[in-house]
């Protein structure tokens, strides 16, 4: 059977030589190492404490215009939902 989910685990076991290369583009969760997923993990403790950041979602032109108007640097995080 041709398993479409042909995991790198099986590949590594067969080859017993190399393991996945770091630094690929975001890709299928079966075919890329952990590094390439969203890293929206809570690695700094509880999120109840709020920073008060007002975050714009998915509107670069609006954010850039606002940054230019207020003469502020623009912080951008490109993330993946998977």
């Amino acid at each position: 059977m041709n398993r479409l989910v042909n995991s790198l685990v099986q590949f590594a076991l067969l080859c017993a030589l190399a393991w996945p290369v770091l630094g690929a583009a975001p890709g299928h969760p079966h075919l890329v190492p952990y590094q390439h997923r969203s890293t929206r993990t809570g690695d700094v403790g509880p999120t109840a404490a709020r920073s008060g950041l007002s975050i714009i979602n998915d509107d670069y032109q609006r954010a850039r215009a606002e940054a230019n108007k207020r003469k502020l640097p623009l912080f951008v995080e490109v993330w993946a939902p998977w």
């Binding site: 290369v21 630094g23 969760p29 890293t39 809570g42």
Partner: protein
């Protein structure tokens, strides 16, 4: 990163930046993603809005302490150009990293490190960024050897862990070549040491565990694979997620650990619990479908795929869900139905905004359709 940005410790930066989050899988963001050469998530940038120049760039997550330094550097770069040679080279490197010119960025990081004195405050982060640039450009040998040479004497903190992680992963990609074996010999003990560094981000900590599992697998050491996997799953289970983002991220790690241990059924109860906790989150259903399919529980997989498809938000994830569905159909002995689902996935793949992801997905699905057709 979202949890990091929610920290009260960042409140002092709130009015000093405009804050933007872009979903990689939304076509509306494609112009930015293409224009800045983004091929990695998360990618974090500070931009000068006047000319869109990146004044700080990081591929990968940041700990809270790293975010502060990152923001300060980015803000400073908008206000004034660096005057010292090493700082200017670092600024060029970050600018290139922020525009997707990764080979040039690697050269500029090297130049910055060459120009800087041994006490340069940006040295450790510069080494970490250099190894990331080398990893991203597939210079595995350069990455592994740079990391092995630098990490031994680096202070044990986040930059050390990032450097070791990048280098050890690149050494793994080198297989049985002499340079790769030499680098692994140096870096594997450092990777184990990095697991004990409390300031390392959870993401890097998990990735270190994953790379150590790959390392053990490449040696055929199934006992050690199991030990690292048990530790990883135990750590995941000990964390109470604060929100849905964190729950999803933990599920991703859970699936990775179970997959490397070849024990997909083991995490299914936790994934069912996550799906119940997040009934409209496609990630939860998608992870459950993947593990159910790998555990050959095909009917459960197909049902979870339908739930995931009902809530999916982007074409890339939709492709993956459909691939899992096709896989389950093949497992049930219905390649004709699987082929139809793959054709549907191919249609979805053609609408992916990011060119590299789209091309890879289309190639992969085209091949899968042909192979599935051979089974008819």
């Amino acid at each position: 990163m979202r949890a990091t940005l929610a920290s009260a410790a960042l409140a002092r930066y709130a009015g000093r930046f405009v804050w933007l989050e872009l979903d990689f899988d939304k076509p509306v963001n494609e112009a930015f993603i293409k224009g800045h050469g983004v091929t990695f998530t998360p990618t974090v940038l500070v931009l000068d809005p006047a000319d869109e120049r990146a004044t700080a760039a990081k591929l990968g997550g940041l700990t809270l302490s790293e975010v502060g330094q990152f923001l300060e550097r980015g803000e400073h770069g908008v206000k004034e150009r660096a005057s010292k040679p090493a700082d200017a080279a670092l600024a060029r490197a970050d600018e290139m990293m922020g525009s997707g010119r990764l080979t040039d960025a690697g050269a500029a990081y090297r130049e910055a490190l060459r120009l800087a004195g041994p006490d340069w405050p940006e040295r450790n982060q510069g080494v970490a960024s250099l190894t990331k640039a080398l990893a991203m450009t597939r210079d595995s040998q350069g990455c592994a050897e740079t990391a092995a040479a630098a990490a031994v004497t680096m202070p044990r903190g986040p930059a050390f862990a990032t450097t070791v992680l990048n280098g050890y992963g690149c050494a793994g990609a080198g297989g049985a070549t002499p340079w790769a074996e030499a680098a692994r010999k140096t870096l594997e003990p450092l990777a184990i040491e990095a697991l004990g560094v409390s300031t390392v981000s959870r993401d890097n900590h998990f990735q270190l565990l994953q790379q150590l599992m790959y390392g053990a697998m490449s040696r055929g050491d199934s006992t050690q694979v199991s030990r690292w996997g048990e530790r990883w799953l135990s750590e995941i289970d000990a964390i109470a997620p604060a929100d849905d983002d964190e729950r999803s991220a933990l599920d991703i790690a859970r699936v990775d650990a179970a997959r490397l241990m070849n024990e997909p059924a083991r995490v299914i109860p936790a994934l069912i619990a996550s799906e119940r906790a997040m009934p409209t989150n496609y990630n939860a259903s998608m992870r459950l479908a993947e593990m159910a399919a790998e555990a050959e529980r095909y009917d459960e997989a197909l049902e979870a795929c339908e739930r995931a498809l009902a809530h999916v938000t982007g074409p890339t994830a939709r492709c993956w869900i459909l691939e899992t569905k096709a896989n389950a159909l093949v497992g049930k002995g219905d390649p004709a139905a699987a082929r139809k689902v793959l054709e549907e996935a191919l249609e979805s793949a053609r609408t992916i905004g990011n060119e590299r992801t789209r091309d890879r997905q289309v190639r992969q699905l085209t091949r899968a359709i042909a192979e599935t057709g051979n089974k008819l």
